[in-house]
Symmetry: none
Amino acid sequence: MAERLYREIGENIKQEIAKSSLKIGDKLPTERVYAELFGVSRTLVREAFIMLEIEELIEVKKGSGSYLKNTLSLKTSNKVSDVGPFELLQARQEIESSIAACAAKVITKQDLQKLQDILDIESAELETVEKANSADRDFHLSIAQSTQNIVLLDTATRLWDMRDGNPMWKKLHARIQDTSYHDQWLEDHKKVLLQLRKRNPEGARQAMWQHLENVKQTLFKLSDTDAPDFDGYLFAQPHS
Amino acid sequence: MAERLYREIGENIKQEIAKSSLKIGDKLPTERVYAELFGVSRTLVREAFIMLEIEELIEVKKGSGSYLKNTLSLKTSNKVSDVGPFELLQARQEIESSIAACAAKVITKQDLQKLQDILDIESAELETVEKANSADRDFHLSIAQSTQNIVLLDTATRLWDMRDGNPMWKKLHARIQDTSYHDQWLEDHKKVLLQLRKRNPEGARQAMWQHLENVKQTLFKLSDTDAPDFDGYLFAQPHS
DNA sequence: ATCCAAATATTGGCATGCCAATTTAATATT
DNA sequence: AATATTAAATTGGCATGCCAATATTTGGAT
């Protein structure tokens, strides 16, 4: 695996911590103890400790010892980069439906007009996949922008852009362009906009929820026909 | 400051990278170069490199060198980092209440026990501000973790950590420790946990919403007594 | 017996030095 | 001259050893 050793040591230490019943604030075994336990030098353990410290799992105090600070990061490899499309969509469903509800409360006429313009583009200009994709993104992020909350916009943007980092998504996306689920989603978008026009928070939440539910279902069907490639990404099924 | 040296070295290296016009993929100066530059041992620089590697800023290759991987983390002040406490809390209210609702559907007994443990710590151990703050963070993020969705956990973590980058928050936070709003919030937390126990999504959503509403109101009052310092941060008032 | 101070032990901080992987330069081979 | 082979230099990997901060024990004074 050609991985740097301190990472392996760090992961091992995480597991040791998880196995033991250490509580937050408790003192960890010393570097020397782990060094002997794993049969490596203390330097390496120290580096692993630095890793855990950066991950805010422990706190290191000179002359005293190291202390458990946080039990969250224990689950190995919290890498967000290689998260599956379904897990990502699940998160987007939760967050974006809330954003839609929030937007419904404060959306301006200009924002509504902008969304309408985007819908017009989506209706007409289905030429290329990129165009459609870009319009789709515009629609979702414009709603986030309508909340007038930079943090919400930033969060939505971040979630959307996570797709691009994942190779699985491209496969799924390639299949989407063949069929015309765009029509379904266009209808979804219209429903969302309608609720936003009515300034109905719960209606907007529900409409956005349903939209992303439809997207999930569509992707699920697609992945079903291409099952082998998507092994390991199905664990994060919608749980409702 | 009493900060570990490798952190300081790491920050210095970040600045050096920022000053120089290195692009992604470019080779960094060697550990030995930095060691001589800063007048420390290579071990220390190596530790700083590990820090940057954990932060996904660089990639270290044995025998070859270290390479710039990501320039995003360099920006100490991302556009969102200097957002006001109220705008941030508003966003957290929207998102974390949804997360709570989501968690209520799938939370395990272990997760519930863990939350109870955290509450116990919050109840008893109000010694230092850091402890209380750490427990608070643990409570909120543990709920996010209970959703078993890494993206949601990542999002919640990101939102929480935005506080630390903002100087305004520290001022507010300094005032909070004086008074005992902790009791109020502890009660809020208990209510949230109760709804999670009942596995009542809408109850959990409401409880978390109310909790963050209370936090907002508290901060608003505090900032009111210290009005001049918070000019420019009040634009993002709760809009409901 | 209690308390305080000094001695001792423990623990992380850090520098030095040698090893292994890789890259680069030199040299041989065609 | 081009290419393959080999030697040298570069670079990160890691262990050892001593230093400094903290914690613990000891012993004497009251």
